[in-house]
């Protein structure tokens, strides 16, 4: 080695670009940073917009001059924008949500800031949630009950209103029970009776007498329902809109009243929690723009779980054969390439396949074999949650197969030989040694499959998802599990609200909230699977994984 005074001659000197160290680190790091920034930005946008839509703001009462006339408008400011008109002049505009769709036709309105003459926040303005026409924003006037009328000025006004709200909720519960459950049960029995009569299982006179009994029951229940309706219509809430028009809400349609401008910070936080809770547990109303998304959460979770239930065993046994038993020749190589390519097939193609094969072919055959008495009304020969789960199981199958194959091949040869040397057969070796050792890797594949499946929407539109499902796929009506039913899905709900809704402005906050919820549901499902995997891993700390 040379050790001259000229240290440029040392054999470890570097030249050219690499003299300053690794040259392209900044590029790779930049790629990562960009990725993180985009993912974080997306998540933050959805998080902020999604939660903000539940925050109760203050109601502004504004005096606005429109075409020379002065108008009073009350509402929540939802957006502030700038607009350049034809002459290039800049206008500051605000979008306000003024509710009262029954009076105004549209719930949102744009106002030029320059036209606002006066603005205040009177405490008498209330936000009234009701069953129809969306929320109303009114000054409270009075409540009318059979016992009499209580004016807003009276100290009994709020207590009376609360009693009315409670009674209304209770009446709605009773109505739901009568109409959905009891009348539903009668109509189901009538239907079954008709079919039984057609096939000759029940004699015509027996059927007729039973039908009479059922008809009587039906009339009695209807009378009960009408009685409840008449009772709730006796109490009502009276309000006056900002521009002085009367709004009356019967107690049966009154869902809630919130004193937006009077509520303290704690009160508003409470209201926000209340709204989130209702969003999670309620059924959607008014073309999905109001109410909650519970059926969509339920449908998403059930569909994903059923899908995992099918894809896991199917994928694992396929991978076991491919990796452990099949002789590794040209054929297996071709199969493996095909499996990998299957993962690249556009998901809508799987939807078409699911519709043609599962729904029409398999479902049609099932109907012919088991439900021929109901034909031509299809039972299984129509899109439903079971077929959607199977279609997605097929879609995510390559993920599970590839992950399982990798996990199996990562099990060291020595461990397999040790098992065989102990006198285990090949199957015993796989079952007792190879599979337990590769379980964490297999579960990683299942997690990936769940993440992919839960977010998939396009194929579902063909095989079972609907805008509004009248009933859940699992409920308290025998046989309790209804795999043939159509279902709602959060992903489709987002699409439906964002692009198919009659009132896009009203739906916008719910779109963000639903998107946030979809992310939370997918993350929760994945976290559950990851927790299970880690528990399995911990049982055998430090393995080949």
């Amino acid at each position: 080695m040379q050790t001259g005074p000229n240290n440029q001659a040392t054999p470890f000197a570097t030249t050219g670009r690499s003299r300053r160290g690794e040259p392209w680190i900044w590029l790779t790091a930049g790629g990562l940073a960009l990725g993180i920034a985009m993912a974080l930005g997306l998540f933050l946008l959805i998080l902020i917009k999604g939660t903000a839509s539940f925050w109760p703001g203050r109601i502004e009462l504004m005096e606005v001059s429109i075409d020379g006339k002065t108008e009073l408008i009350a509402g929540y400011i939802t957006q502030e924008t700038e607009r350049r008109d034809g002459e290039g002049k800049l206008h500051e505009e605000i979008q306000i949500f003024r509710g009262n769709k029954d009076l105004n036709g549209e719930a949102f309105k744009y106002i030029d800031r320059a036209n606002i003459l006066k603005s205040s926040r009177p405490e008498s303005l209330l936000l009234v949630e009701r069953l129809e026409f969306g929320p109303a924003i009114v000054h409270g006037v009075a409540v009318e009950t059979p016992q009499g009328r209580i004016e807003v000025a009276s100290p009994d006004f709020m207590p009376a209103l609360e009693t009315m709200l409670r009674q209304g909720a209770e009446a709605r519960g009773r109505l739901l029970k009568i109409e959905r459950k009891q009348i539903g049960a009668i109509s189901r029995e009538l239907e079954a009776l008709g079919r039984a009569e057609k096939t000759g299982a029940v004699a015509a006179p027996t059927a007729a007498s039973r039908r009479e009994v059922l008809q009587k029951d039906f009339e009695r229940l209807q009378a009960q329902a009408a009685e409840i309706r008449a009772e709730v219509s006796k109490s009502r809430f009276l309000g006056r809109s900002a521009d002085g028009r009367e709004i009356t809400v019967e107690s049966g349609a009154l869902l809630g009243v919130f004193e937006s401008n009077r509520a303290s910070f704690a009160g508003r936080v409470g209201e926000m929690a209340h709204r989130i809770w209702k969003f999670l547990k309620d059924d959607p109303r008014e073309a999905n723009t109001e109410g909650g998304v519970f059926p969509a959460i339920f449908g998403t979770v059930i569909m994903t779980l059923v899908m995992s239930l099918f894809v896991t065993p199917f994928g694992v046994i396929t991978a076991i054969y491919l990796r452990e038993y099949a002789s590794q020749g040209l054929f297996v190589r071709i199969v493996r390439v095909c499996v990998n390519n299957l993962a690249g097939v556009p998901s809508i193609v799987f939807g078409v396949f699911g519709l043609a094969f599962f729904v029409y072919f398999v479902g049609g055959k099932i109907d012919q074999a088991l439900f021929s008495d109901k034909l031509p009304t299809p039972t299984y020969g129509t899109p439903g949650i079971f077929w959607a789960s199977l279609t997605l199981a097929l879609l995510t199958l390559p993920v599970v197969i590839v992950a399982t194959e990798e996990a199996l091949s990562a099990v060291p040869r020595g461990v397999r030989e040790a098992a065989l040397a102990c006198g285990a057969s090949k199957w015993q070796t796989i079952q007792r040694v190879v599979l337990p050792a590769s379980l964490p890797g297999i579960l990683t594949g299942v997690i990936l499959a769940m993440a992919r499946g839960a977010g998939e929407v396009a194929p579902l539109m063909l095989v079972g998802v609907v805008k509004l499902a009248p009933s859940l796929p699992i409920d308290d009506i025998a046989p309790f599990i209804h795999p043939e039913r159509k279902f709602m899905h959060l992903g489709f709900h987002i699409y439906d609200l964002g692009f198919q809704s009659p009132d896009a402005e009203a739906a916008k906050p719910i779109v963000y909230a639903t998107a946030l919820l979809l992310i939370i549901v997918v993350v929760t499902l994945n976290l559950a699977a990851i927790l299970i995997r880690n528990r399995l891993k911990k049982r055998f700390a430090t393995s080949s994984f």
Partner: protein, 259 residues
């Protein structure tokens, strides 16, 4: 002493004109040797000389590799290993094996030991408990692990894991114990323990050991076979092979002139 018992058979394992091919490549050329019962027989030789191949044929572990074929025969107590009526699984129950790299299963210590019983369909609790204690004691591991039998086997040190593998191999009481460089991955102290164990185990089992370590062969084997390029060059009592080798290649190898 079992090795002075009348049941002592000088040709317990009989390798008869045995040749072995991996596809086109021949690994073993016409080996003929007899391995005595209750003795430790060491197979030595440079890498690629075929000693591991020979060892792995004694429990037909090489069957797993595609494209292998053999000529000649290996007899275990008179029975041909390659007889069509021999079931590989029952054969492997009679021939235990310990590998170069310790390879416990991703299971508890207890389940590792009773694995061979479980796959044989034996699951009586008392029998399993008894086996665990006997095998672990025989493998000189009992005192170290008796309080954590249901912990993961991966929590043990390397030497302990290898002794666990020995316990696993002898749990179902095989007749023969094959050891393929059992100390190659261990430190000197752990190696010493395994060697002591080998000396102890030969009272019950016939042991064939492949080793690269000359001292190990002299310390714990009774007979030594030197293989070179797939051929059996020299085979005899260990003392004689090491002190007075008959072939120049043997002498060159054991004195370290090539490896």
């Amino acid at each position: 002493m079992p090795d002075s018992a009348p049941a002592f058979r000088p040709d317990f394992i009989r390798v008869e004109n045995f040749s072995f091919h991996y596809g086109e490549k021949q690994a073993i050329f016409d080996i003929d040797m007899a391995i005595p019962e209750h003795r430790v027989t060491a197979l030595i030789g440079p890498s690629g000389c075929g000693k591991s191949t020979l060892l792995r044929n004694m429990n037909r572990m090489n069957d797993l590799i595609e494209g292998v074929r053999h000529e000649g025969d290996i007899r275990l107590n008179g029975t041909s290993l390659y007889d069509p009526s021999v079931e590989v699984i029952s054969l492997r129950k009679r021939v235990g094996m310990v590998f170069q790299k310790y390879n416990p299963f991703a299971k508890s210590i207890y389940e590792n030991v009773v694995f061979s019983l479980r796959v044989a369909g034996r699951s009586k609790k008392s029998e399993l408990d008894e086996t665990v204690e006997r095998a672990l004691k025989a493998a000189a591991l009992w005192d170290e692990v008796k309080d954590r039998l249901h912990d993961s086997a991966f929590g043990l040190s390397g030497g302990q894991q290898q002794r666990l593998c020995i316990a696993r191999a002898i749990a179902n009481q095989p007749e023969i114990l094959l050891m393929d460089e059992p100390c190659a991955a261990l430190d000197p102290l752990a190696t010493l323990k395994i060697e002591e164990l080998i000396t102890k185990l030969k009272k019950q089992y016939t042991i064939v050991i492949v080793t690269h370590n000359m001292e190990q062969a002299t310390r714990c084997s009774d007979r030594t076979a030197f293989l070179y390029m797939g051929r059996l060059i020299e085979y005899g009592e260990t003392v004689q092979v090491f002190e007075n080798p008959a072939h120049p290649e043997t002498e060159a190898y054991i004195t370290g002139r090539f490896s």
